[in-house]
Subunit: 426 residues, 2 copies
């Protein structure tokens, strides 16, 4: 059956369509933190952040079903739900971020964020890190180094080295914050020299795709100064850390201690229903709205708004942020007691964990070892994956209802696998 | 209440957020071809193509509710529904268009179509008409002339004059097909000279945003030859004409009689649920898949696939394409009997109608008159709008279940308003 589905995928979707795992799983049902395969296998979901309040949460499902049966139009007509939602979303953000554009994907949200920076500054240059991902539209995909665009990388994009505390610039941990900022300042200077000018810098405040490196609050301060002094906007992609996952804070930028000019939200926002948003301060938003006359047919429709409101309601009514903080502390403690010759570092950003494996003191990535570990954990019924530039860190990022008991199941299995898994060649 | 919503919109969304009508309507409920305002007013929906099989169609609502309660993940796991849908969708297309990328909006679908053309040809130049709209991402929004992008129009995009049979090139109708193709050939030559090269031309096969000008099958033949001879791809945006709306054909390109290299679908595809797709032949799709490693988190999720399958099922089981053909014939006949001094032309493309008004024999657009007519029709409970470069044509594009009786209600009211409405200054 799996082979049949793989053959059909190749025939109907083409080659190089990403799947997870050597033997991709065929999932047919979900509930809370659990997923079931077509063969009856039950998996503990230790990976998916999109089903934020748990797979198929009945409150969100009911909100979608009820609104879909009542009305589903667009924002060229007036409706209260989209406004109710923007009101609640922006109230949680602060920093004067009071206005939103509702769209359907994080990619669309970031595509707009780039144009907001351009409209507000009149310039086009943009900076990101060299190991990030902010989406898949033509405009934002060039912020990723995974594949070069046809026609080459555009000159208005400059990528700076991603933070990496295991491989610090200059070989020592002190001064990494300044070293990062110095690269940003250099990129700003280059953009200004090139004639593009500097419109803004886009970051994920926990550097999720960079592998949640062990940066902390304050790390970004020298960079913020460089960005602000150059008149650029700080574009903060909250698609991964947002909506309480940090535990200690509702948003990643609160944790990092920065004041964004623009915030984008997506994936977990409506528990899997396709919705996302770009939030900005009024003056900045007006620059964009007047420059582009933007309209998105599906963006902010009543069903999407109902799904967003229901998800936010569940996060609050079930105390999921506080829950994430508690489970994060427990997992982090247990991670620190993990022992393996290749284990280099364990890192946590709320309910988001990375466990990095290296082959030697030069921090040579143990990518094959980590891949093998993932496969063995999947075979035991735990869905997780890898993260970071070399895929040598386990990525654990479960739905928010993931409990201490779920965490203990995962960590018991992980300890057992680590005790069995031989040290492998790269 | 409406004033309050408008004030809240301005506060929460910013300025210049598009609404319809001088007094925007506040819609709270929909069923079939009917919408209800918050004040109890019932409107006949003569405008919306997104609720393709009728507002809140119970079969589609049920499919969404059932699947949302069962599983909603992504295509990195295997699932059959997305494959079932691509199989059915591509089976309806022909021309070897057997593979799809599932996304969330028509904008994302067209953003990919442009990159497919670039990946397949290794070139970047793109051609569209000068009065079109293919979406709102940074990459596709530059195909529209509504607002100039920050930093100016990019050099790799060339726009050719849109077809307009009321204002034909050279003043006579004969040879318009060749005149259009000559402009395309000139643009291709310019792109080749500029170094960008020519990757493809994107069109809506009924030129919907251009005002469904009175072109017919065969019009595009000389252009197709020019595009193919230059090695470019024909990118056909079926977001508006597709899924049976033409009545005579399931797709707009079938009606126009052209063989697309890439087809994009969106709006009506899942009756309002945010989903869209880009379809191409295997060789072309492989070029894209290998060049970009594209993945879309929400694209092709099981709920979206279920909504797509349900919509396609309703189109077929309720015979909506045949129904559209019958109602189109009836409306077209009645439109031809409309009389008004400013009436220049009535046009139909299946269940999509345009009624163009001009002030004089020089075809000066009667934009203010048309705007006033729209407002009066809305006040009578008929939702419709304007189309074309100068907004001087009524745009009538109802949900597919729109019946002969619905059409007669609309046309009786329209005849009455035309008999009352004085000839106005521009």
């Amino acid at each position: 059956m799996t082979d049949d589905l793989l053959a059909r995928r190749k025939r109907l979707m083409g080659p190089n369509v990403p799947t997870f795992y050597t033997n991709p799983v065929h999932i047919v049902r979900g509930e809370g933190v659990w997923l079931w395969g077509a063969d009856g296998t039950r998996y503990l979901d230790c990976y998916n952040n999109v089903p934020h309040v748990g797979h198929c949460h009945p409150h969100v499902v009911q909100a979608i079903a009820t609104q879909a049966a009542t009305l589903n139009t667009h924002t060229r007509y007036l409706h209260d739900l989209v406004l109710d939602y923007i009101e609640q979303l922006t109230a949680s953000l602060g920093h004067g971020l009071t206005q939103a554009v509702m769209v359907c994907t994080g990619s669309e949200a970031n595509d707009i964020a780039l144009r907001i920076a351009q409209a507000a500054t009149g310039k086009t240059g943009i900076i990101a890190t060299d190991n990030t991902y902010h989406g898949n539209t033509a405009a934002v995909s060039v912020l990723s180094t995974r594949r070069p665009p046809v026609g080459g990388y555009p000159d208005h994009v400059r990528l700076v080295p991603a933070p990496d505390m295991l491989r610090p610039v200059g070989g020592r941990l002190e001064g990494q914050s300044q070293a990062f900022a110095a690269n940003v300042a250099r990129a700003i200077h280059e953009l200004e020299q090139s004639g593009h000018g500097f419109s803004g810098m886009m970051i994920c405040p926990i550097f999720a795709n960079e592998g949640i490196p062990a940066v902390g609050p304050g790390f970004f301060e020298p960079t913020t100064r460089a960005v602000k002094e150059a008149g650029g906007l700080l574009l903060v992609d909250e698609v991964q850390p947002g909506f309480g996952r940090m535990g200690s804070h509702f948003w990643g930028h609160e944790w990092l201690g920065i004041a964004p000019d623009v915030v984008t939200v997506g994936k977990p926002m409506a528990n899997g229903h396709p919705v996302a948003a770009t939030v900005a301060r009024p003056g900045i938003m007006a620059a964009f709205r007047n420059a582009f006359g933007y309209f998105n047919t599906f963006g902010g429709n009543p069903v999407s708004a109902a799904a967003c409101l229901a998800t936010l309601h569940v996060i609050r009514s079930e105390g999921l942020q506080q829950h994430a903080a508690e489970v994060s502390r427990h997992v982090h403690e247990r991670l620190h007691s993990l022992r393996h010759p290749l284990l280099a570092e364990v890192r946590a950003a709320g309910l988001f964990f990375a466990i990095e494996f290296v082959l030697d003191a030069d921090m040579t990535p143990a990518s094959a070892f980590t891949e093998s570990l993932v496969e063995r954990m999947v075979a035991r019924g735990f869905l997780l994956n890898r993260i970071g530039r070399h895929g040598n860190a386990l990525k654990i990022r479960p739905p928010m209802p993931f409990s201490v008991e779920n965490a203990d199941m995962l960590l018991d299995a992980l300890e057992d696998e680590l005790s069995r898994l031989p040290v492998m060649a790269p």
